[in-house]
């Protein structure tokens, strides 16, 4: 039988960071990590030890994250829709002062990264999921569609709309 204290002390922080990096929601990440431990304890007899315990736990957690995303809302909220009407918003490069020469330095500024993270947090859950799978896990479009149960054309619409909203959010200073 698996020792609960060892389980938590050895894997909880890793799993929490794993979940948080994808979900960007601390409370939700903690809920899913707790659910993962409960599922692991309940089904420990199914763990075949062909992989490490951490790999097995991570796969359970990953499945729970995907289940959450699949159920998540696709439409954007009133809060974010207010930002989407601004077709005359300034050019992003000019607004943040990016040129061909300084791009790498400018986009690494902590303040800008924080502002972008705040804007990402306003996106609908499923749109955030697309961003996590695309930019964090570098998944191909077919894999993103499969994991989130999206059609290819829905995926492109989400990516396009997300970028328009992020641009509007960044250039309106409403992060």
């Amino acid at each position: 039988m698996i020792n609960r204290e060892e389980l938590v002390s050895e894997h909880a922080d890793y799993l929490l960071s794993f979940a948080f990096s994808k979900l960007r929601d601390e409370d939700l990440a903690k809920d899913l990590v707790q659910d993962t431990f409960l599922a692991a304890l309940k089904n420990y007899h199914e763990f075949e030890q062909r992989s490490s315990l951490r790999t097995w736990l991570t796969s359970i957690l990953n499945r729970k994250i995907i289940d959450h995303w699949r159920k998540a809302e696709t439409k954007y909220t009133t809060n974010i829709s207010n930002l989407s009407k601004n077709s005359d918003s300034p050019d992003l490069s000019e607004y943040i002062g990016v040129t061909d020469e300084n791009a790498e330095t400018v986009i690494e500024k902590a303040e800008l990264i924080q502002q972008l993270n705040d804007c990402i947090d306003k996106l609908p859950e499923k749109w955030k999921a697309v961003i996590a799978l695309r930019y964090l896990e570098e998944k191909k479009s077919e894999e993103v569609c499969k994991e989130l149960s999206l059609s290819a054309s829905n995926l492109w619409v989400i990516v396009h709309r997300a970028k328009i909203l992020l641009k509007d959010c960044l250039t309106s200073g409403k992060s």
């Binding site: 938590v8 903690k30 961003i131």
Partner: protein
């Protein structure tokens, strides 16, 4: 080809899966369409920014109290 279809192809290209004929169609369209050129520039910049931002600040740890509460919860539920 209209702007909507070109924008879709620009986003497809950012995922890395695009044919050479689509690539040509993008380049041809961008040669005369300023709106799509502006969109492409913003899209490429956001790709870089998203990659940076999404990979930072993701480390989160439980406090000792939270870990104990988690252990207690696991003890009482299984």
């Amino acid at each position: 080809m209209n702007c909507r279809r070109i924008i879709k192809k620009i986003e497809k290209r950012s995922f890395g899966n695009i044919s050479s004929s689509d690539n040509f169609a993008i380049r041809f369209h961008l040669s005369y369409c300023k709106n799509c050129r502006d969109y492409e520039r913003t899209s490429l910049l956001l790709d870089k920014m998203l990659k940076k931002s999404i990979s930072q600040g993701n480390t989160l740890v439980y406090s000792a109290e939270e870990k104990q509460a988690l252990v207690d919860h696991l003890q009482s539920n299984i």
